[in-house]
């Protein structure tokens, strides 16, 4: 099993959710996150005082999938989240040792 984690632009979140839904992915965990990559934030002005805001809002979401599905899930996310501009985010994959479905006690692949 693999854990796929993605950090993307908030306004692309709906597109990603729809694209993943179409591939049959059933569950995921979503977090409102803050961060920055190469773009290093932006400037805001309050009563004439300029602030460099380094952390910009992001959506971070995580989904655990079968080994066989990992590559296509990553590709789906990357394509749905892409705007081509700086700040589109990252998707990464790490191995998962075990999973338990809390309600039934099912484990590993049958718990996904």
């Amino acid at each position: 099993m693999k854990l796929v984690t993605a950090v993307i632009k908030p306004h692309k979140w709906e597109d990603v959710r729809e694209a993943l839904g179409a591939t049959g992915i059933a569950g995921m965990t979503v977090t409102e996150a803050s961060g920055h990559g190469q773009q290093k934030g932006h400037t805001e002005v309050y009563r004439g005082a300029e602030y460099e805001v380094t952390l910009v809002p992001k959506i971070r979401f995580e989904v655990v999938v079968d080994d066989a599905d990992a590559e296509s899930v990553v590709a789906t996310i990357a394509s749905a989240a892409r705007t081509g501009k700086i700040g589109d985010g990252k998707v990464w994959v790490v191995p998962v040792e075990s999973v338990v479905r809390v309600r039934t006690g099912e484990t590993d692949e049958s718990a996904l």
Binding site: E44, V45, Y46, R47, G48, A49, V53
Partner: protein, 426 residues
């Protein structure tokens, strides 16, 4: 008693009360999330303590028959003992006037709180407010707001000097601004000032507060006619003209300087305009009110930057908006007061641009300077005494971790539940 006047003064009084939570939201949105409850409590405490001070001695000191020199009222109204439900101020019951004027005092000291947001010991503030009201606000209110009656004498600015200050450009705005400066100097700069970003944490709250303040300000200014009449109507139209023009003025400065108009700037401009309208709304013409507003918006937008150059941390710009806006309103009266409004008020002269010469301008400036010096010096002394005894400043660790949790045992926003145990204390 006139029932129409009484009805309007009852309504105006309720409108002014709404400025207090309005100010709490206006200020609350401007601070960081970790200190929003503290600044809102500082404002609301000003309301909570005030009847005690005002009923016992404050009202008598401000509006009692002059005790000498136009400086302070006498003691005949201590504890409101000589007032009954038949007692009238002009054409409305004095009980209404007592609360109307008390709420002016609440707004004034509430404004001062903005200068020391995020870092003042709450217990020091609790002591400071009644002392400040007694020695700063009460005498100044007597000077400015207590007019001679048929058998009584009032304060020196209103009667002997004859400056125009319709609703408190000196007593409320210059007083709060100068007291704020004195307090900011005593309490000192926030940790991280000019280095860390102190972004407003909730601009919609600032805009909500500004809206409530504007709504309440109609009672503050038009209610200062103390009657439901043409003078109140003049105050209403001029207040609208000045507030809106100041909004445009502030936005214009931002568009030229930052290439964008901000919501925070628009709200700040509206408040700067309401401040400048406070003294001037009874004496300028509707077109003159637009001039006052434009000047106030532009000048205050510039003035809030001065603190960074001079090095005092007036957290929420009480000096730049209230002191400066109040001075703009007071001084422009000396230029823009119309003869018909002067005739209506029954004293003083028209402004320089309306053929009145420099006479009124000089009186306006004397009133501003007197109130400015008195408010600054006396507030400085009171704050210094409190700082030397109780201490005005929370410790640095508390300030950095957040004053709400330390001073009030609360946090404004629940992030993730977070409770681990529960006790009713019963």
């Amino acid at each position: 008693m006139d029932t129409g006047d009484t009805a309007w003064m009852l309504a105006s009084t309720a409108l002014v009360m709404l400025m207090v939570p309005g100010l709490a939201f206006f200020y609350g949105g401007m601070v960081r999330a970790k200190s929003v409850l503290n600044i809102m409590m500082m404002v609301m405490y000003s309301l909570a303590i005030m009847p005690v001070v005002w009923f016992l001695w404050g009202y008598s000191g401000a509006f009692g028959d002059d005790a000498g020199g136009g400086l302070i009222g006498g003691g005949e109204s201590l504890g409101l003992k000589n007032i009954t439900l038949e007692t009238l101020t002009g054409t409305h019951p004095t009980y209404v006037f007592v609360i109307f004027q008390m709420l002016f005092c609440v707004v004034t000291i509430g404004l001062v709180a903005g200068a020391i947001a995020d870092r003042a010991k709450f217990v020091a503030w609790m002591v400071f407010v009644p002392v400040w009201v007694t020695f700063v606000y009460v005498p100044i209110a007597h000077w400015v707001f207590a007019f001679d009656g048929e058998t009584t004498e009032g304060g020196w600015i209103a009667n002997d000097l004859g400056a125009f200050d319709f609703a408190g450009g000196t007593a409320v705005e210059v007083t709060s601004g100068m007291s704020a400066l004195a307090l900011a100097l005593i309490v000192g700069r926030r940790v991280g000032w000019r280095k860390e970003p102190f972004r407003p944490h909730n601009l919609p709250a600032v805009l909500l507060g500004a809206g409530l303040l504007w709504f309440g300000w109609y009672g503050f200014n038009a209610g200062s006619a103390l009657a439901a009449n043409g003078t109140a109507a003049m105050a209403l139209i001029n207040t609208t003209g000045t507030a809106t023009a100041a909004m445009l003025g502030w936005m214009a400065v931002e568009i030229i300087r930052d290439k964008r108009a901000t919501s925070f700037g628009a709200a700040s401009g509206a408040i700067a305009g309401l401040v400048a309208a406070t003294p001037s709304c009874g004496t300028v013409s509707p077109l003159g009110s637009l001039v006052v507003g434009l000047v106030a918006g532009v000048v205050c937008a510039w003035a809030i930057g001065v603190k960074y150059r001079l090095g005092y941390d007036d957290s929420l710009d009480v000096v730049g908006v209230h002191f400066v806006g109040g001075v703009v309103g007071m001084v422009l009266i000396g230029l823009l007061a119309t003869q018909s409004n002067v005739d209506n008020l029954g004293f003083g002269s028209a402004g320089l641009f309306y053929g009145g010469g420099f006479t009124q301008l000089g009186k306006q400036i004397v009133a501003v300077v007197a109130v400015m010096v008195y408010a600054f010096v006396v507030t400085y002394v009171i704050a210094k005494l409190i700082d030397m005894t109780i201490g005005f400043r929370i410790d640095e660790e508390t300030e950095v971790s957040g004053i709400d949790q330390a001073e009030h045992l609360e946090t404004a926003y629940d992030q993730i539940g977070g409770g681990s145990s529960f006790s009713t204390g019963a």
